[in-house]
Amino acid sequence: MPDGNVLLEARGIVKRFGGLAANDRIDLTVHAGEIHALLGENGAGKSTLVKILYGSLQPDEGTVSWQGRPATVGNPAEARALGIGMVFQHFSLFEGLTVAENIALALPPGSGRRGLDAEVRSVSEAYGLPLDPAARVAGLPVGVRQRIEIVRCLLQRPRLLIMDEPTSVLTPQEAERLFETLRRLAGEGCAVLYISHRLEEVRQLCHTATVLRHGRVVGRPDPKTATMADLARLMVGADVEGAGSRDGQPAATGPVRLAVRGLSQEAGTPFGVSLEDISLEVRGGEIVGVAGVAGNGQDELFAALSGEAPASDEAAIEIDGRPCGRAGPRRRRRLGAAFIPEERMGHAAVPAMRLSENAVLTRHGTDPELATGGLLHLSRARGLARRIVERFDVRAPDGDPEAKALSGGNLQKFVVGRELDRQPGVLAVSQPTWGVDVGAATEIRRALAALARSGAAVLAISQDLDEILEISDRVAVISRGRLSPAVPAGETTREAIGLLMGGAG
């Protein structure tokens, strides 16, 4: 257990967005040489706090001191000048620029570009993070992108390294390599503020921990001695319960309702992933989970299933035995399928349109009462939106608000509710609980389980392995556009899935 000097001390940090206090009088102390976990569910205020420490947000109240002296961090450049580096969850890289240019941008002004390439190489090799300085970021895989971010930080010789959910995009094996790098940095006296909601890795890696819930500090447990259940209870505020539908249920024996046969598709965009010979059957009554690291063809697979990117072969996809590979989304919905994409804003819903109009968005082809003879019936659409809001407990402003006025979790409940309300026979869903608070996530998973129990075939694509293992009857893994055979969830292990995610096997 390192016992370095106090490096960073934050006192009484408050940050409000509108009426909501994202950070409510938070205290945080980080010592040199420690790996300090910042734990909390989505929306607990972790990201807001670190953005304040890194200077990209300004607190409404509170003080920050750095090495014992009061400090104002007005912007990220000032943070870097102090010795604070940050690796973002959603990378802050520039696709159109080279690796070296991406790194040069974060270095203090005046540092010459000459010699940078050599330095990039030496630092990246010293920490086992190989990089090619001249490569363009567009087209590089996620793991490499994270390396760029880390090397970018390390070149500034930081005293404190902030890592925001770094493993969410990594395979278990890649994560293990990252942990080694972080331990080594800590050994050299650098502090690491490690943000995560994954309890197992926090117990493995971190020396100290601060747990946030609803913007407040709710505990400072010792991650080495606390049990997973202890940490979870602090984070969630109650004993955690799963969707709980999968345990002890017999495997589904319903008819095949969704079939994918030898689906191959060229990538539609220069940096997309081509799908190669994907085959999969989902039976009524079961949930099949598709695990995988982001950017391995999940988006393309979803688009092929929804009909946004139809296949060239009609037989490649069958819904309830009817071939529809070349059909668009509307015809597939009429065959009884429903789809929920990963991105709520601008894909599943139009942010600037009202909920009633967003209800029409995916229901106009299947609900003739919404649109007859090309005319819209707006009062019926409002009725439908109201029904979805009530049935699925969507918390929304009164009346018929625009979609963008809803919080992420509530909009997701609306989007899920819009599809489930139809009682679809086949449902393909991508990242069903991405960015959703724990309560809403549990409700959504329960709803998916209930849909499957009622006889529907559910295909769930997710990067969250915990989620996959919790809800799925069978699990397949997508890697570089190829899909592994689906195996019963009870017969596989986290490690085996991890290997497949990394492209082995």
Partner: protein, 306 residues
């Protein structure tokens, strides 16, 4: 002067305003701002340049006034789209409409007046060299400025830190903001530079190309410069190549008429516009898009949250 020299000379003078305006817009677009007001800034530059030269008696001061005119309009545009987060396409159109109106009003006093010309440089001996003499050494100063500008813009964008920051802002403004680059300030400066270039390009028309003020004398050159930026896939030297090709197309009509080609003059006048459409269509193909360098944030509104 031989016929060949004359052709080259006219191509160069036709291409110069296109090149200057395109380079300015190229920098603006690299920062992620689409300013469709080039035509408006150019025509205002043409009239302020002409007026400046008439009032001071110095065509050089006229060129300065042309830049100032373009920048004044550009700063209005910058305020609209950067400070007030207005739609860039509509604001650019507004700028063009306003510019056409303003220039007409300012220019009314100058219609029919003989203008002052930016004198061609005449270097004894060098200018007298056969074939290359006038082409290389006998042009007006802005021709050299335009070539130097292409070199400088290229150096700036790809070999300086400020240029890197500007490209970063155009590529991903949220990340640039996270890294502490001043997105709005960078873009504002890029818009001002674009305005100065457009103004100067307009000034070239009224001070060197045809030294007089004619209403609407830009005749769509601002729009052609916009197309050139796409044609050049946001690379300065390709913009230069494109400008000379288009200069050639503009000149073709005059020479075709002189050669007595039996086509109505209107058809020949339409050539540059049709050539622009053709270039846009050919260069917008998917294959080309995959390779080009288009700024990812082009036309997107950035509002920092604090």
């Amino acid at each position: 002067m031989t016929g060949f020299e004359a052709v080259i000379l006219t191509i160069v003078t036709a291409a110069t305003p296109l090149l200057i305006a395109a380079l300015g817009e190229l920098v603006t677009e690299r920062s992620g701002v689409l300013n469709l007001g080039v035509e408006g800034m150019m025509i205002v530059g043409a009239v302020t340049g002409f007026a400046g030269a008439q009032l001071t008696g110095s065509p050089l001061l006229g060129a300065v006034a042309a830049m100032a005119g373009g920048m004044a309009l550009a700063s209005l545009f910058g305020f609209l789209v950067l400070r007030l987060a207005a739609n860039q396409v509509a604001s650019g159109l507004a700028l063009t409409l306003l510019g056409l109106g303003l220039s007409g009003m300012i220019g009314e006093a100058f219609i029919g007046q003989p203008g002052l010309r930016l004198e061609r440089i005449d270097i004894p001996f060098l200018t007298d060299l056969p074939v290359v003499g006038t082409v290389l050494f006998g042009q007006d100063p802005l021709v050299y400025v335009s070539v130097a500008l292409a070199v400088c813009v290229s150096r700036f964008l790809f070999h300086t830190r400020a240029g890197l920051a500007l490209r970063a802002v155009g590529n991903n403004h949220a990340s640039a903001h996270m890294l502490g680059v001043h997105v709005i300030r960078t873009r504002f400066l890029a818009v001002l530079f674009g305005g100065a270039c457009s103004g100067l390009a307009g000034g070239y028309l009224s001070l060197a190309y045809t030294p007089q003020w004619v209403e609407g004398m830009t005749a769509g050159r601002g729009w052609i410069a916009l197309a050139l930026v796409v044609f050049a896939s946001w690379m300065p030297f390709r913009a230069a190549v494109g400008a000379y090709l288009f200069g050639g197309a503009l000149i073709l009509q005059f020479h075709a008429q002189a050669e007595g080609i039996p086509l109505p003059p209107q058809f020949l006048s339409a050539l540059p516009y049709i050539a622009t459409i053709a270039a846009l269509v050919i260069l917008s193909g998917d294959q080309w898009k995959a390779r080009n360098d288009s700024p990812a944030c082009l036309g997107q509104v950035f509002v920092p949250d604090r």
